[in-house]
Symmetry: C2
Subunit: 191 residues, 2 copies
Amino acid sequence: MADEIRVLGICGSLSEKSYNKAILRTAQQLAPEGMVIDIYEGIGNFPFYNDDLAASAFPAVVTELKDKIRSANGVLIVTPEYNHGIPGVLKNALDWASRPTGDSAWPGKPVAMMGAATAQGGTVRAQTQLRLNLLPLNAYPLPRPEVLINNVRAKFDDDMNFTDEQGRTFMQQQLVAFAQWIRRLERGLES
Amino acid sequence: MADEIRVLGICGSLSEKSYNKAILRTAQQLAPEGMVIDIYEGIGNFPFYNDDLAASAFPAVVTELKDKIRSANGVLIVTPEYNHGIPGVLKNALDWASRPTGDSAWPGKPVAMMGAATAQGGTVRAQTQLRLNLLPLNAYPLPRPEVLINNVRAKFDDDMNFTDEQGRTFMQQQLVAFAQWIRRLERGLES
């Protein structure tokens, strides 16, 4: 229906048993009524960004992602933290989708982010770097609440279900806030 | 000779006509006596980092880079700035070379960085993010001087020679300071 909120979910981990992939699947389940999260799994198939390639043979996979970003009401990025930053594969996808100059898929796009880590920070530094990267893209990241899932190994059962009640509540709260953020920005544009 | 300083040069751009590649070549020419800069061009051949791949089929190209980092006295990273951060291809290489846990190539490695941009910031934000990424790697980035080359189109001749005298002086000063930094850290370890 027209009022449905379509969110494109992107995970920064390529590992099959990634906790962050599992968090993204959990977000699908926890999405509030009226929000549907579609997961895009193609970023591992992108070439590395290269000005020459962008000019001579713009990759079809990038165009596919750009189309999906454009047709979504918002983007949910779930990312692990690698060396205090986001994975190269995720940065590469963000950069590609911003190209070529003047045809970026990002301007005005609402973005929410979550992350899970085995250590205590819960990806806070990766998410801080991600917010800085979203700034020149002119995307509109949801300010609050943050979803920083630390000590992640203890919070999943053997079937990779995210069982931490506090964490699930934070995720629900963020998804509700994200729906409100998307609607507010869309209504604001109409008026 | 034994006293020679071998520096491994890595560029974050894959483009053939990259200004940053040209800056790295310029650094080779400007290196002080006793310093040799070897350029590593393989990071574009890396797979995207993936825990599964790291565990099951650790890529030979990554081992090659790790060996080169380890056998070098220092690493010089020359990077463009993409959306206020470093390119995915460069972050991916940094991350790979830090794996597996306990076998990172980075701990204690002196690192210098330079960057060139068409805009005014001269990659200052990319370099700031790079410094944050080097922190958990326990690499030893040279604090000063910075080499932030802005407005780069006006500073090259038609043959891609870097002709800006002020910029060349900054580069030389950094390379001399890098040689001192490397020697100081090495002597400090011996004593």
